[in-house]
């Protein structure tokens, strides 16, 4: 298990023209209808990536590319209802071992593997058995009578890959 430092991310919207046309075409070829993609450059202290975010077939996708523009992973936001009962129970059991009082704020299923298999996840919804699956979960946790936000990543066997506290941005401009 890895306890990491507070998550600090930097993200900047970039124009589609900054993405090589071959890569853009490969991604657009995955879709059978018009999809609007927003491109971002992201840095989280450990890595720098390009990210494509879009909504397709009622799901929000986030597709990550390294600086060489090679696809790295595909993340899909899911709800608890979309998971098999046994999977959901296993996730809850694992989180309960770390935190007594929690609720799930957001959950993403992440696929990692070879590029062709990852493109197939988006377009064909074909999930190769060679793909690694992770669950990236944002949690509202009560610790020492205070609410904190945590991120937890579980692998497909529900082993904890990462736990880190997420620093929330101040809300003074919204409150006063």
């Amino acid at each position: 298990m890895v306890y990491s430092q507070t998550k600090v991310e930097y993200e900047k919207r970039i124009d589609e023209s900054e993405i090589p046309s071959a890569l853009r075409e490969k991604l657009y070829n995955c879709f059978d209808k018009k999809v609007k993609i927003k491109w971002f450059f992201q840095k989280d202290g450990q890595k720098e990536v390009f990210e494509a975010k879009f909504k397709y077939n009622e799901h929000f996708y986030s597709v990550e590319f390294n600086l060489m523009k090679v696809i790295q992973n595909v993340e899909i936001i899911i709800t608890e209802n979309e998971l098999k009962k046994t999977t959901l129970e296993a996730i809850h059991t694992k989180i309960s071992k770390e935190f007594k009082d929690f609720s799930i704020l957001k959950m993403q299923r992440e696929y990692r593997g070879n590029p062709e298999d990852l493109y197939n996840v988006i377009g064909l919804k074909r999930y190769s058995k060679k793909l690694d699956i992770f669950y990236d979960i944002e949690l509202n946790v009560k610790q020492n009578r205070r609410r904190q936000k945590y991120e937890m990543i579980l692998d497909e066997n529900f082993n904890i890959n990462l736990i880190r506290k997420v620093k929330l941005k101040s809300t003074d401009i919204l409150d006063y």
Binding site: E9, S170, D175
Partner: protein, 222 residues
């Protein structure tokens, strides 16, 4: 600055056609810091400088009031907090005022923007005036201009609408405040905003007064 002068002249020309209109400057500074692991202290200083109104029709910067607000804030959820506060207002022409404030605020972090809700009640007391009671709700949205998340050095737009219902015997009143600002998120401890704050009140007493303020705000966290 030249844009302010242009907008000021435009506001004056529009104001001359309305029944009652005031415009001027509205700077404020908000300072916050943790008192301990549970409570946060917030101080706010705000001043008003009316520079033109349709009654006098003269262009002159006047000092009207200076507010000192102090709050004690407690987080009650991951995205919600309650605060109680006290405000002392120095009025240039009228008696000084004391105000008690209670508020609950919560935020929603949505894809690409943040929403802030604020429900506030306050009670104002001053010599020679009956107490005034107000109930207020404000919805504010913060939109990053360079991505889905707001990062250091980036600009954002903040838009808000606040409705206020007040009672000062025997009168009730309703006020609406619309604020549009552009902000610079220097870092999480320093934010600067500037923009327009339009206020309209007197709806229940059939004497609608419009105010347009040029606001400049600095949010500082220690």
């Amino acid at each position: 600055m030249k844009y302010y002068v242009l907008i000021l002249l435009l506001a004056i020309s529009l104001g001359l056609n309305s029944q009652s209109f005031t415009t001027g400057f509205l700077p404020d500074l908000t300072l916050s810091y943790k008192a301990n692991e549970v409570f946060k202290i917030v101080h706010k200083v705000e001043s008003r400088y009316p520079s033109f109104d349709t009654d006098s029709e003269t262009l002159k910067v006047n000092f009207e009031r200076l507010d000192f607000q102090n709050f004690v804030e407690r987080k009650v959820g991951l995205f919600s907090k309650i605060s109680v506060g006290y405000q002392f207002r120095i009025n240039y022409k009228d008696n000084n005022e004391h105000r008690l404030i209670q508020q609950i605020a919560w935020s929603d972090f949505l894809r690409g923007y943040r929403l802030g809700h604020r429900f506030r009640t306050d009670q104002t007391f001053s010599l020679g005036n009956l107490p005034e009671f107000r109930f207020r709700y404000r919805l504010k949205v913060q939109l990053p201009l360079q991505g889905q998340e707001l990062d250091k050095g980036e600009y954002y737009i903040s838009l808000s609408d606040e409705v206020l219902w007040s009672y000062q015997s025997p009168n009730r009143d309703f006020e609406n405040r619309v604020v549009a600002k552009i902000g610079l998120y220097i870092n999480d401890k320093n934010k600067i905003e500037t923009g327009l704050d339009w206020r309209a009140d007197g709806f229940f007493i059939n004497n609608v007064e419009h105010q347009l303020w040029f606001a400049l705000s600095w949010y500082k966290t220690l």
